[in-house]
Structures are given as structure tokens and as C-alpha cells.
Symmetry: C2
Subunit: 122 residues, 2 copies
DNA sequence: TCGATGAAACTACAGTTGTAGTCACTAAGG
DNA sequence: CCTTAGTGACTACAACTGTAGTTTCATCGA
């Protein structure tokens, strides 16, 4: 069971999943473009994530080096599961069906997924 | 853009999507088993949903008849989109790939999805 | 007619989230 | 050595959430 991660916190996680360890300032730099958060905001989010033990903070002189303690895949698995459970009764097929019907799938997507499934069986 | 619906509120929506219109008491009865919320809690949630104009409240004597104003499909579409955007960069294929790798797909699921995709193309 | 009952409206309250401000400390540079 | 810039720690605060309690008003049955 992975701790609940809020939207803003998730943004921070994505940065750390891409590269770690990073200091607070480095993380702030990397989200600055996309989100425009202040350094303080980023630090608060890092603290909250550390408090939940979702990231680790390694002291490095007067600052910390932050790294994820949870794999992105683990997190995605847990959150995907919850999502599918809540909205599609735990079945993945209705989700895909829904996305398909909602025209969220291009022909290329379809081909890609078909290939993927073929590999799974083979 | 569908208004944000919280987890508890969503539970109420599911009831109303299944049958509507319903009074507060009727809704409470239908969630009682699953969630064990008090009637007051259900009424609060109904008020909040009505305030967001996600459900409508039709006066019926001294009580209200509540009905969804948003289709379940519309809601699912909007929330699925946000989910896929946030976690899988907006691409459905990585989501399916992830579910597949995470062993969330049974053989039956795979067959079902393949069939679905065949229909989509045909 | 009058009190009990049921319904909505209003109020409550702690925990989470988004978004910082401020304080205190430490290391590094002049 | 002393100032200063960069850091973490602590504090703030409103909106949203989960979960009700309380009040008020209308109505239905005796």
C-alpha cells in the first residue's frame, strides 16, 4: 500500500523519478517551467513526501539530497489499481473499452496495443 | 470540464446513476450497506453535489428528488483523460502496457480487448 | 388542533492540499 | 572574523473533504 500522493506532490515525484538524487533547489529548477512554484513551495512538498517516507533525504553538508523510495512502477500499479477499482469495478477491459469508445484511441494506438497483446500471449 | 467530484461524492453519484430520481433517504439507504454513512452525511454530500450543479434537486412537497445532471460516461471520459494525462503522458498505450506488465491483465482480458480493438477497426 | 416526525438548512470540526512567508543556522568568501 | 547567501524548519492560511450534530420548519396522524 503506497501512501497517498497529492497532485502537486506527484509532480515532484516525476522529477525525482527522472533523476535522483537532487537537492531542493535542483528540483525547484526542474518544475519551475511547468508549474511556476516558488522554492518554498517545492520545499514544503519535499518535506511532506519525506514525512510520508515516499522519498528519502540524505544529508549532504548543509543541504539534503532527495531520492524516491518508491519505484514509479510500484506507484503506478497501486494508483492504477485504485482507479480501475473505483471507476470500472476493477475490470480493465471496460476502461479500455471506454477510452476506445470515447475516441481516445488512434489507429496507431490500436495497432500498438494489438502488438503489445500479441507479445504478451506469445 | 466536469466539476471535481470527491471520492465520497462519487459514491453518491454511482447510486444516482443507477437509479434516479431518488430522495436523500433513498440514497442513504442504498449506500448504507457499503459505506455505513449517516443520513446527515449523505445529505451533506448531496448538497455539495447540487452546489456544483452535478446533480439537480427537484422539489417534491417537503423533500427533494435528486438526479444526475452529468452522464456517467461524460464523467468517466473526463476523469479517465485526466488520469491518463497525469500518469501516462496522455498516451493510452503505456497505460495498457503498464497494466499488462503488472499482470493486471488476465488471458480473458486480453482476448476481450483484442476483440474490442477488432471491432473498432472493422 | 397539536404534538411528533421527517426533511432540509445551517453549523462544526479536524485532516489534507496548494501555496507560500519567516526564522534560524551554517558554510563560504572577502 | 564577520557578513551574507543559501538551506532546512516552522508557521500560515484558505479551500476542500469526510463525517456528522443541531435547528427549524412543515405536515400528518390522533
Amino acid at each position: 500500500m503506497v501512501e497517498r500522493i497529492s497532485d502537486a506532490e506527484h509532480e515532484i515525484m516525476e522529477v525525482l523519478w527522472q533523476k535522483a538524487p537532487l537537492t531542493a533547489t535542483e528540483v525547484a529548477d526542474r518544475v519551475a517551467d511547468a508549474k511556476g512554484w516558488s522554492l518554498q513551495t517545492v520545499k514544503t512538498l519535499l518535506s511532506r513526501l519525506a514525512a510520508k517516507a515516499v522519498i528519502g533525504a540524505e544529508r549532504d553538508g548543509r543541504r539534503f539530497q532527495y531520492s524516491p523510495l518508491v519505484e514509479r512502477d510500484t506507484y503506478l500499479a497501486s494508483i492504477s489499481r485504485k482507479f480501475v477499482d473505483r471507476l470500472f469495478g476493477g475490470r480493465v477491459t471496460p476502461l479500455v473499452a471506454h477510452l476506445a469508445e470515447a475516441d481516445e484511441l488512434s489507429d496507431d494506438d490500436i495497432r500498438e496495443i494489438e502488438e503489445l497483446l500479441r507479445e504478451l500471449k506469445g
